[in-house]
Amino acid sequence: MDKTTPKPSSAPSYLDAAHGWRSWLLTRDHKRIAMLYLTAISVFFVAGVTIGVAMRLELMAPGRTIMGPQTYNALFTLHGVIMIFLFIIPGIPAVFGNFVLPLQIGAEDVFFPRLNLFSWYLYMFGAVFALSTLFIGGLPDTGWTFYVPFSTTTKTNVTLATLAVFILGFSSIVTGLNFITTVHRLRRPGLGWMQLPLFTWSVYATAWVQVLATPVIGITLLLIIAERLFGIGLFDPAKGGDPILYQHLFWLYSHPAVYIMILPAMGVVSEVIPTFSRKRVFGYNAIVYSTLGIAVVGSLVWAHHMFTSGMSDTAVFVFSLLTFLVAVPSAVKVFNWVATLYKGSIDLSPPLLFALFFIYLFSFGGLGGLVLGAAGTNIHVHDTQFVVGHFHYVMFGGAGMAFFAALHYWFPKMFGRMYDIDSANWGAWILFIGFNLLYFPMQVLGLQGMPRRYYDYVPHFKRLNALSTIGSWILAVGLVILIYNLIHSILYGRKITQDPWIGTTLEWTTATPPPTENFPADAEKEQSAA
């Protein structure tokens, strides 16, 4: 198959196929739905970052800087809810999974296109619910974890917020179901499981976690609502309930959710590194099995968030052990990625740069995870700034960087235009430097004993906090450069019709940007065969 020159097609690209807002809001084309997600997710991401920068500003110096404690508590809750439920969890699967997965398996669309659009509406509906707490009944101040009994006693509008997360969960489940079915039913004839592109594999594995784990949080959040409205007492010790039960239920979903966030990111990196090294990925099978290993074992480690809660020491033993086991497949992936670079022909374009940042930051965060996994050291750093630094390394440094890698990798395919490479490189480096300056001091602060979710702190934590705040400004500059570059390029970028990277997966064999039917030549062939 000639991969470099897709057959010129007479069909208009999916962007030109129809016009007007109805053609977008009522579309069933997976590529257009991906665009709807991309737009919404970008807006929420920018909102989340803005809140984060504001919180850092507050923490720049001890005492009140720009806001009071109630505002601060509400903001870290909102920041968490936005970033986790509106950005990272849907991020890569809903945008790039939607756009790329059907293309990568040679399909015309996902299996249930109408359901696909429905899940976007659910997502928007949930998002509006979540944000309406800004105006109705007071922003929750519980943290995104909604721990009882505080969440059942605070007067703020926890009910509305948990309902929002419940709806978002539905959207996630529906998308997951759609992807699973699509991969099972719509693979191009002859495309076997062990030939699937790694991105498709990881989105597929993620979809299973989404479908199996998300209902748990749905139920848990409904229980909070029941507790608030009817006082059923399931989590209330005065009525024979158990607040620790809530934590088990919450993390039963929310730990696997961490893998919902990171697995697709790993999939992106597994595509980008081979493409920009002009090589096949090293250890394809090992990467597939480690993906599945993470999806399975990752579902069994939830209680490592609860070592100090008072659960039994046996539980601490088991969950600490399992946590260490899940570290191994991640390490295997990192080694395979680095081995892929060996003797490649490496082009350090922005997507690869982001992928390498991913490897560094994710390894850094993952190794910090060993400190958290070891029971004895966990006790000291649990609920401190160390944890905040850690999960920003793996979530933002991992999933976030991979999101940017994916965006810069598939951008030409999606828009048929090219962005400015130099600006992207500058933005990426500034982002990376700001990132480390922002989160590394947090990890040190945690080791020194500064708890998390602290509006104020004792004076000897001053310096590192100031440093971290400065980091947040640098990071913001990097983001502004990156986002400006992309928006500018969507409007004015150089038009292209060729694959700029010479990728080897199926999405690069069709026109750029793809026509609505993805592979019109195929469709014709099928029709003549029928």
Partner: protein, 312 residues
């Protein structure tokens, strides 16, 4: 003198060094390789990639080695954790009571304090109780953290080897003023501790000596307010906080919601006693029902009301 029990801190710190050392090594190795390959095989210098077939032996090697390393770390971590959990039988028991934004420590003979005053060199056993939501007892110097869960009595212990004052934080988010829920561990020589414990040395004198803080100078009413953590939620200067200011509250007209409905009444001594003893019975309009109930001894209650009456 009996031999000191093994301090849990040392093993924990060993685990920290082990994990961080290993992690640093692995990170350096991976990053160095990555950078080296990227530079060495850049396209301008190395235009033709060399296809390297996968190698299952390599995969086995880099699966088995990390597995062994993580199992080693796991066992160190577990061992260190055991140190935190094996409470020496001769440890001195202290009851810890957490409520929104204040700690209180009660000793076996009924002595009470809002700083954790302990004799240096003796292991201390803590029984943790919460009166409202989940809190977390965190003493960084002793690598100790344990959640304080309502309806459950968690246990913890530590060994203050040296005299000194150590920070004590609330680590589990517990509400608007979570960050202010701090106290300290004050480890003093047995020669100071014993008379304090027996009640012949008063707390302020001990704390003054331990950290040079001039508490004794404050009016007794303020000390009651400080001692019970009221000032975490109430200001004395007219500012609105989690709760209404206490300035001028005595004798003022307040709007409250009762079981019966809205009501306006005069905040006399009787009302204020009720507001402290049973805050859930009447909620001041515009505030949340966040105030915990307090059972103050009669002499403290008097000092407090006396003070509030003068605070205009």
């Amino acid at each position: 003198m009996p031999p000191l029990p093994v301090n849990a801190v040392d093993k924990i710190d060993q685990t920290f060094f082990l994990v961080m050392g290993l992690s640093f090594g692995i990170l350096l190795f991976v990053t160095a390789l990555m950078v080296y390959f990227t530079v060495r095989y850049r396209r301008t210098k190395h235009p033709d990639p060399v296809e390297i077939p996968g190698d299952w032996r390599l995969e086995v090697v880099w699966t088995v080695i990390p597995s062994i390393l993580v199992l080693i770390i796991f066992s160190y971590g577990w061992d260190a954790y055991r140190g935190l959990r094996d409470i020496p039988p001769d440890a001195m028991p202290v009851q810890v009571t957490a409520r929104m934004f204040a700690w209180s420590f009660t000793y076996a003979n009924g002595r009470q304090s809002d700083d954790l005053i302990v004799p240096a060199g003796k292991p201390i056993r803590l029984s943790l109780n919460s009166l409202d939501v989940i809190h977390g007892l965190f003493i960084p110097a002793f690598r100790l953290k344990r959640d304080v869960v309502p309806g459950m009595t968690n246990q913890a212990w530590f060994l203050p080897e040296k005299e000194g004052t150590y920070e004590l934080f609330c680590s589990a988010y517990c509400g608007p003023k979570h960050f202010s829920m701090t106290s300290s561990v004050v480890a003093v020589s047995p020669a100071t501790f014993d008379p304090w414990y027996a009640g012949t040395l008063n707390t302020d004198a001990l704390l003054n000596a331990a950290r040079g803080k001039q508490w004794a100078a404050a009016p007794p009413g303020i000390r009651v307010l400080e001692k019970h953590g009221c000032l975490k939620c109430h200001s004395l200067d007219g500012r609105r906080d989690v709760g209404p200011t206490l300035k001028g509250v005595f004798g003022s007209q307040v709007q409250v919601v009762r079981a019966g409905g809205r009501e306006e009444l005069t905040a006399d001594a009787e009302y204020l006693r009720g507001a402290i003893r049973e805050p859930k019975a009447e909620i001041v309009i515009g505030y949340d029902s966040l105030m915990p109930a307090y059972e103050l001894p009669e002499d403290e209650m008097r000092e407090l009301l006396d003070y509030l009456q003068r605070l205009r």
